[in-house]
């Protein structure tokens, strides 16, 4: 018998006053955003003051949370009830990465310098389209929300990335760039005219800038240089902020919830993520397997249903109805078995990880009632790979 993975008790996690940040991560298409919103609703209805930071919600979900525009400000969600007599609150906000970046610039530079940076074409591209900016700014926003101390709990939905690990890696990439050797090098001509010890370096520099100029053209390179010179005073501040947020993610008040679906790609991404969190000593709360298919009649096996359906092939309308229903059931049982096998393989590789699952709903979730239903299913659910279903199967 396979060992049953211990259950992730989501209610306890989000109701515990010590839990201040929950980060939902996982690969694209597993339902992270919806799940993060559902956790927010649940925690608020359990009496906590909650803010959810979403990155790119589907339009209807955003509307149901009262988010009509991307304005980078938490908005109170109407319709939150109290489940235990304590009235909580839910606020929701959508990340505006460019505005977040602009605000950092404005906070760290003099008004004149800030205006100069904001108008720089290279900055404009960097702040709106660099692949790591979104992750970096999500972290930054998280840091700001936590620092304000207005919330009991912050639920973060991570950006849609090609790989779940991007969320952890991208901020570092941007920080390395801003602090890096290449940037220092670009700064040299602007800062230190002809100091002797730079001569050697400048020989190399000539080759490099020469090649870069050849490649990108002088105009882009000079825009980058102007940008770097203007940003120079800010680098220290940026780095400090990034370091502080990175530290925050390692504190006991933070919990990572990895979201997956019972499909090979999503489970593999989840494995990478779990391994990485463990390696980096990040506080992993557990894994939620979303959209799991379950049959309510597990005692009727797929094989038995199929042979009964075949036996009914020649009958009248009653038989044809029964045969169709039996085929539907057989398909559900096969799907359930195949998902259970995949989930069992996953938990076998990561035996100490807490798990929970959420059943698949036929309809998309896009209102508070739907989010509540999802949260109920998550909190009342059995661990994803519990005892083998269909114990009475024949």
């Amino acid at each position: 018998m396979a060992t049953t993975p211990s259950r992730l008790d989501v209610d306890r996690l989000i109701s515990d006053p010590a839990t201040r940040i929950v980060v939902c991560c996982g690969s694209g298409g597993v339902g992270k955003t919806t799940l993060a919103a559902a956790l927010g609703v649940r925690a608020a209805e359990n009496g906590r003051r909650v803010v959810t930071l979403t990155i790119d919600p589907a339009k209807r979900l955003a509307q149901s949370l009262g988010l009509t525009e991307l304005d980078n400000t938490p908005r109170k969600v109407q319709g939150i009830k109290s489940s235990n007599g304590t009235a909580g609150e839910l606020h929701a906000m959508m990340l505006d990465m460019k505005r977040t970046f602009d605000e950092i610039v404005e906070a760290h530079a003099s008004p004149a310098k800030a205006a100069q940076i904001l108008a720089n074409p290279f900055y404009q591209s960097l702040s709106s389209s660099f692949a790591g900016t979104q992750e970096y700014m999500a972290m930054e926003k998280l840091g700001q929300l936590r620092k304000s101390d207005r919330w009991d709990l912050i639920v973060v939905d991570t950006p849609p990335a090609r790989s779940a690990l991007d969320f952890l890696d991208a901020p570092g990439r941007l920080a390395r760039f801003l602090d890096g050797r290449f940037i220092r090098m670009l700064l040299v001509p602007a800062k230190a005219g002809g100091r002797g010890y730079l001569k050697v370096m400048q020989a190399g520099l000539g080759v490099v800038t020469g090649a870069m100029t050849k490649l990108l053209g002088t105009q882009l390179l000079s825009e980058v240089q102007t940008f770097v010179a203007a940003m120079d005073t800010m680098f220290g501040g940026l780095r400090e902020r990034a370091d502080a947020t990175a530290k925050l993610l390692r504190t006991p008040g933070t919990a990572f919830v990895v979201v997956a679906a019972p499909e090979p790609d999503a489970l593999r991404e989840a494995t990478y993520f779990v391994e990485r969190l463990v390696e980096d000593d990040m506080p992993l709360a557990g894994v939620v397997v979303n959209r799991v298919h379950r049959s309510s009649v597990p005692e009727l096996s797929a094989g038995k249903a199929m042979s009964a359906a075949e036996a009914l092939a020649e009958g009248g309308p009653d038989a044809s109805l029964a045969a169709g229903v039996l085929r539907t059931h057989a398909q559900r049982m096969q799907l359930q078995a195949s998902e259970e096998k995949k989930i069992a393989g996953f938990s076998l590789a990561l035996p100490s990880v807490h798990m929970a699952s959420v059943p698949a709903f036929a309809e998309d979730v896009h209102d508070l009632a739907g989010l509540r239903r999802l949260a109920d299913a998550l909190c009342g659910a059995q661990p994803a790979a519990s005892e083998p279903a269909g114990s009475a199967s024949g």
Binding site: F177, F182, L205, V208, M212, V297, L321, L326
Partner: protein, 351 residues
Amino acid sequence: MSRSNASRAAQDRDWEGVRLHVVTGKGGTGKTTLAAALALALAQGGRRTLLVECEGRQGLARLFDAPPLPYAERKVAVAPDGGMVYGLAIDPEEALLEYLDLYYHLGTAGRALRRFGAIDFATTIAPGVRDVLLTGKAYEATRRTASSRAARTAAAPPQTKDPNAYVYDAVVMDAPPTGRVARFLNVNAEVAGLARVGPVNKQAESIMRLIRSPQTVVHLVTLLEEMPVQETLDGVAELRQFELPVGGIIVNRMHEPLLSASDLKAAAAGRLDEDALRRGLAAGGIKPDDRVLGGLASEAGEHARQLTIERKLLARLKTAERPMYQLPDLDTSDVGRLYALAAELTNQGAA
């Protein structure tokens, strides 16, 4: 219904004359799998295709049960009736160095660039440069002929003595997800705006010419679920707005109806005749108690509602007025599935 492969004439194929197939889709829709199936379908009958992965996930290697792909073109599969699929996982850093070497013979300067972190800078930070390199590699492979410089070092040998014959009959690119694909492909225009002169600019302009030409199409993979369908329609609109060529819509993992039309209608409305069901089941040797009967009826109801939703979403996709390919839900993850999907794509005219 399905046209036989052997009798298929060239005009039955929807993308005759297309040499670069860009495949996108929302995360989780099966974009990489479908890109691979399309490359297989296009290679069928002795042709040769290149399947390009550009997001460093080694998804192709896993699909074909191969070891991780290096930055080199490797044979990954043999197509039905002969034909060969090559795979390439593009590494932007390597692509930049290769590019510099090919066109500028930068040698030492190239190494210096790397030492100073300039390569890192150019490939991860400089807006658009990474994307130019990724699309640029697909561009080069699409246009590569036996006499091209790159043909001398590449894995796939020329097939004929004709120096002007293309090395690959078609190139299939597993592109970034729907939400980013228009910007990814159009980034060449962005770079052209940012780096107003210089070789990157020139390169970007020629890539853009190929992408906007009748030789290129962008296919969108979707599931019949609300969010992927919405993203697909948004993606089509965005591609059109950027004047990028929209190809077909590939609908993945469709469910087959398992009940008759009238039973489906009743089940969807929650009005399944439970007495008739009980009689039918009894005739099949199953005597259900009320719980089992209710459970089976509710499963049939879920199935019916699922199909109703799928039908509505399919109708919404039709408003995009693009060729659609409808693929079944195959619950396997082995290489055989790729061949089954490839055959389906061929039958429906996608290749």
